[in-house]
Amino acid sequence: MKKLVINGDERVIEQLQMDQERISFLLDGDQFSFEIVKSTPTGLELKSGNQNLKAAMTRTSAGITNVVIGGCDIEVEEVSGQRRRNSQGGAGEMRSPMPGWVLKVLVKEGDQVKEGETLLVLEAMKMEHAIKAAIDGTVAVVHASVGDMVEGGVELIGLTPLE
């Protein structure tokens, strides 16, 4: 048994067979079997029965593979991996979605805010991005001020949920 996270969803697989020509496994109880036709530095050709399948792929790091199948971008990650990017944090932590400059801070500590209210405006890639309250609450802490350059994934504003 093995757990994989595929585009954010956890799936359980059980490997049945793997050699140079074939991979087969159980995915959520259903059996899948692929014949390995060709692997090149830029992609993989498989067959499932008579169905021809192609994938472009890259091994992003140990345990993570990025695959493109039929125009779908898929990330497969081993659950055992330690890596957890940009943790979402608690519901009250308003984080920067990406690096940028703080254009405007609209609230101060102690302010009461409603869900959806704009708390801070970030500029990145020449566009404005509003950081909105995810919950109703009170502003507990403001970590950024106008003009700051902030990294992605850092907490900008902390909210205490309304009881």
């Binding site: 093995k2 994989l4 595929i6 585009n7 799936r11 697989i13 490997q15 793997m18 050699d19 140079q20 991979i23 496994f25 995915l27 959520d28 259903d30 899948f32 692929f34 390995i36 692997s39 090149t40 530095p41 830029t42 993989l44 498989l46 499932s48 399948l53 994938a55 472009a56 792929m57 890259t58 091994r59 992003t60 140990a62 345990g63 593979t65 990025n66 695959v67 493109v68 199948i69 039929g70 125009g71 971008d73 898929i74 497969v76 081993e78 055992s80 979605p97 990406m98 690096p99 940028g100 254009l103 405007k104 405006v121 500029e123 890639m125 020449k126 566009m127 404005e128 991005h129 992605g152």
Partner: protein
């Protein structure tokens, strides 16, 4: 572009980056003209920095120190021995003081005169001029008095909804729709901030907001002898955040009679203002086939390739010839619109998360295999996508005998591109192209918000998940070496890998 008649261009500095810089360099090569690239220090190694015959480092710093640094760019042009500067789009392409400075330095500016850039860059002045010529414009307030109460009362007078727009604007920056007067001040302030940051000018205008608009634009071209031609229309109705993402030619929205009138209007504008070079007249088309002048872009557009596909003309080549003072050797009747072309803009962004730009290393871009497909990319494998520039990665342009063939070719080509490493809007573009309203031709500029739910990501189908797992196993077990290493060495030991796998 003063009188350059008979003045041969032998070397061009391209004051731009990415795909458009490469695009211009390609035409230079075909014409036997040398090209000069400029770049910010960190960009060295990106395709445009090395594709040109020469490359000059602009140094580090923000855009004002690099791609907007007029004096530096001109001095590089002189040092390199270039006789002309091509501004591309964006950056200094519609900056009249730059155009003047280039000409004053004895170089050719590939674009219209500074006066025409000024006129068309000023939304109020251009609108007044259009009214004089008899080209219809959208009802609105274009005054200098910018008091927020006055703007609000003007908005009320025009009737909601209204559009607040930066006078110096473009590309959707500094633009807001107001549907409720109570939110007027908030939207105004936000638009002013964005405009001040993007254009250094926060003057706003207010216009009637057309409920079901389509964006139709006409490619125009004028030589120095007063010959004015149109190269038919492009429809750029599919936009997100007021930026075009799908463009096509011809438009399915124009009735034959409307098409004739809109093309003639665009040509009449060129005649009236004494236009020279390549330009685009943008119109808003209403439900009832009435159209209004929106603005004229006095430069090459991002979406110019669809026009090249259907007409067979190389618009950059034509720009260079006009800049040398060569007159058109073709008439209007020689320009034909054949087949159907579509362009999509591939952005490094996450459409499923409010189009948030994504950054990182693009590990593999790839290429397409079909004929009649053009992939204009400014990045190569391993390049960094940073927050310093527009997140457009590349443009994919296809040509088909009809719209249906073009759509199918586009869908296939989008599937074919690896685009690995950063999140892109590829799947989102596919959802648009497969949407029944896109296919039937019933869509408006608010398409992506109207059909928001239809355009959401769908869960992956189980066979696709299984295939991804198979790919993952092959990669992670070392049977496959994606970096280009020798896969065969790993194949000799798959049983070890298998054992490891079972032990997990």
């Amino acid at each position: 572009m003063s009188n350059n008649k008979g003045r041969k261009i032998t070397k061009v500095l391209i004051a731009n980056r990415g795909e458009i810089a490469l695009r211009v360099m390609r035409s230079c090569r075909l014409m036997g003209i040398k090209s000069v690239a400029i770049y910010a220090t960190a960009e060295l190694g990106m395709p445009h920095t090395t594709y040109a015959d020469q490359g000059f480092d602009l140094g580090e710093g923000d855009l004002h120190a690099t791609y907007l640094n007029q004096e530096k760019i001109i001095s590089i042009a002189q040092e390199s021995g270039a006789d002309a500067i091509h501004p591309g789009y964006g950056f200094l392409s519609e900056n009249s003081s730059f155009a003047k400075l280039v000409e004053k330095s004895g170089l050719i500016f590939i674009g219209p005169t500074a006066e025409v850039i000024d006129l068309m860059g000023d939304k109020q002045a251009s609108k007044i001029r259009m009214e004089e010529i008899g080209v219809p414009t959208i009802p609105g307030y274009h005054g200098d008095d910018q008091a927020s109460e006055l703007l609000k009362s003007e908005a009320k007078k025009i009737g909601l909804p209204v559009l607040i727009k930066a006078s110096a604007g473009g590309g959707g920056k500094g633009m807001r729709v107001v549907e409720d007067l109570a939110q007027f001040e908030e939207h105004l302030a936000s638009a002013q901030r964005e405009a001040a940051s993007a254009f250094g000018n926060d003057q706003m205008l207010i216009e009637k907001y057309i409920i079901n608009p389509r964006h139709i634009e006409v490619q125009v071209f004028s030589d120095m002898a007063g010959n004015h031609r149109h190269f038919f229309e492009r429809e750029c109705t599919i936009q997100r955040r007021h930026q075009k993402i799908v463009e096509e030619s011809p438009s399915v929205a124009l009735a034959p009679e409307t098409k004739e009138r809109i093309l003639a209007s665009a040509v009449s504008i060129c005649e009236n203002i004494g236009y020279r070079g390549a330009g685009t007249v943008e119109f808003i088309l209403d439900d009832d086939q009435s159209f209004y002048f929106l603005e004229m872009n006095t430069r090459l557009q991002v979406e110019h390739p669809v026009t090249e596909m259907v007409t067979g003309f190389d618009l950059v080549e034509l720009q260079l010839k006009v800049a040398e003072g060569e007159d058109f050797n073709f008439g209007q009747k020689d320009i034909k619109q054949q087949g159907h072309s579509i362009e999509v803009r591939l952005y490094a962004e996450d459409p499923d998360n409010d189009f948030l730009p994504s950054i990182g290393t693009i590990s593999r871009i790839g290429e397409t295999s079909q004929s009649g497909v053009r992939f204009d990319s400014g990045y190569s494998d391993g390049d960094q996508i940073t927050i310093n520039f527009d997140p457009m990665l590349a443009k994919l342009i296809v040509d088909g005998k009809d719209r249906n063939e073009a759509v199918n070719k586009m869908l296939y080509s989008l599937d074919e591109l690896p685009l690995l490493g950063v999140k892109t809007n590829r799947e989102y573009l596919k959802r648009i192209l497969q949407h029944s309203n896109f296919l039937s031709g019933e869509f408006f500029t608010h398409f992506v918000t109207t059909f928001k739910d239809d355009l959401k990501a769908k869960p992956l189908e189980t066979p696709v998940v299984a295939q991804a797992i198979a790919a993952h196993i092959v990669v992670q077990q070392g049977v496959f070496t994606p970096t280009g290493g020798v896969a065969a060495t790993a194949i000799t030991t798959p049983w070890d890998s298998l054992t490891n796998f079972r032990n997990v």
